[in-house]
Structure formats: structure tokens, C-alpha cells
Subunit: 203 residues, 2 copies
Amino acid sequence: MKLYDGGRAPNPRRVRVFLAEKGISVPTQIIDLGALEHKSADYAAINPLQRVPALVLDDGTVITESIAICRYFESVKPEPAMFGRGGREAAMVEMWNRRLELNLMLPIAHVFRHLHPAMKEMEVPQLPAWAEVNKPRVMEFLAFLDRELESRAFAAGDAYSVADITGMIAVDFLKAAKLELAREFGHIRRWHSELAARPSATA
Amino acid sequence: MKLYDGGRAPNPRRVRVFLAEKGISVPTQIIDLGALEHKSADYAAINPLQRVPALVLDDGTVITESIAICRYFESVKPEPAMFGRGGREAAMVEMWNRRLELNLMLPIAHVFRHLHPAMKEMEVPQLPAWAEVNKPRVMEFLAFLDRELESRAFAAGDAYSVADITGMIAVDFLKAAKLELAREFGHIRRWHSELAARPSATA
């Protein structure tokens, strides 16, 4: 088994934090995104979509998409449960992981990719107007999230889950996009600081 | 239990096709997207993100996000399995459902939402330039998908799964976005016509 990791980018980090929470260690090879190594022919043979991370199993099966990789490891080592216990909880984790991914991480990524000078070669063409459209969407979702987190410890309920990993990394990603977490979002700040204090957060 | 459905839009249809494949029937209320009923105060009380579909359980739990709703029903009625059997297959279904959603359905949605006159009030502001950026991305992914489908019956392997539902509906969504499935994509055409011939497709 081998994990193709992408270093500092948000998606590879989701898998590393997940593995740290599970206490799983996997042989890893770093793909240098800055050097566009994910666009190389060697890596395209592993993932034709040229994105990281990718997990190659011993039988040659290639699993891409961070959450698919995490789900695979959940089946290999079910404890601690990171995708919920039972149908209702599993649905809440799925819902919140998606909400945090599609309504927070993705709009932040659009702001970052379409405005940041460092993304000029990665995001062609950059459309600053599209980044600007996404800025208020990020802020609206953060306001909603802050209200939600008033009444519970974690994103999807009373237990830590993969949705918290997505949320923590999305909040950290604000900085790269030059966006700020407003001071008034105290519930997000409490939640994020607790997640960031877990040993897994530095993975 | 009650399902808030959104009629013709792609996401509500994903849940309806899924329920038809499972043979599950659920009391349903239609939310009229054309009349912006999803933006009403009544519906925002159910899903503050103002999107359809949403499932309300008897205990009051609200589940949004189509795939989270499908996953809930998978736990209620596991057969036929729509999210894969065993860890490896579940990971492949997750991977392909995400690939089809994030790299096909979502770029098609951007083309539709940012170009179509009917979306003028729903997508504010419309950015035609962003739609144009997404057009070649749709075509690139379709070329990749066509090569992949040469060697197997369904999106994620030898068994029908929720990834096929996402894929079928994404391909159908091309028309709304005024995009064409090129004649040369014979494997996609074979796959799509088999999916469209299932009784569930008309749900």
C-alpha cells in the first residue's frame, strides 16, 4: 500500500489528519505540487485527473478523492468511528462533511485559486470576478455555522468526526485565501481551537 | 417522515431515482423552485441553506444533501446495496460518485447557472466568463469517463450504484446547459442508455 501525498494542500492534509486520529501509518510518497509533479506522466498514470492524494492498494487498486480514501481506512480500522455510528448519525456526518466541503472549503478554494498570484500557473485562467462572488458566500456560511455550533461540541453532533477534519482545514484555508474569520464568530473559534489542539492537527 | 422534493432539478431527482431503485416510498412535498419557494421563511426553517431536497425524520431530525439522504435510506434498507459491498467497493463507489459530482455535474451546473437566461434570478451575479471556463472541463472529463467505461458495465465497477445515478443525471443535465454529448463517446452512450432504460430513471 502506498499513499501519494501532496504536502501542504488542504485535501492531502485531510487524509493525514484522519490517519493520525485512527493511529494508522501508511508508506507515503510526496508529490511536489509546486513543481507541478501531479501533472507528470508518471503521476497521471496513477490518477489521470492529476490530483492528490491517491492511495494505491497492494492489488493495484487506485483510490482517489480524500473522503473515499478515508472511508477505505474506516473499513480497515473501524475505531474510533469517524463516519458516525448507525444510520442517523452516519447521515448527519455525511451532511455536515458535505456542507463544510461544498459551502466552505470549495468557495474558499475559488477565492484562493482565482486571486492568489501563486496560483497563476495552476488555475488557468484566473477569474478575479469569480473569486469576488465567492467571498460573501464564505461569510454567509460562516455565520450559519457559528449559529449551529452554539448548541453542540462538534460539526455533526456530540462526537468528533471526519466532518470536523474538513471544517478545521477549511477554516485554516481562510488564511491562504486572505480571508479573515470575524471576531464575532465565537462558537467557530471555540470549536476550531479545540480541533487545532488535538495531536492530529499537526499531521 | 417527509421528503421535501424540488421537482425537475438534478439533486432532488438523485434521491427519487435512489428511492425507486430501493423500492421505498416516502410522503413527499414539492417545493416550487421556479416560484423561489426554497427561499421562503417556512422552508428556510427546515433548511437554512435554502436548498432541496431535505428529509425530515419522525423525531424532527433534518437531513439535507442528496447523498446524505440516500445514505440514510441505505441504512434503513440495505438491499439492493447502492454504496458498495465491503471496504474496497465502498471506496470505489465513493470515489466515482465524487468524481462524477465534482468533475461533471458541478461544472455543468456552472455552465447552466451562469449562462442560461432562466437562471438570472437564481444565480446572482451570472458570470458568463466562469461558464466558459467550465465548458472545456466538462468535455475533458467526458473523454476520461468514456475511456474508463470501455472496460466495465457501471461507473464504479460491475455493479449498479449511487455513482451511476449521479452520472446519469449529470449526463441528462448537459441538455439544460446547452452542451452536447459528442457522438464519439460511445461507451458513455451505451452506459447512459442502459441506465435510462431502468424503470427508476423516470422517477
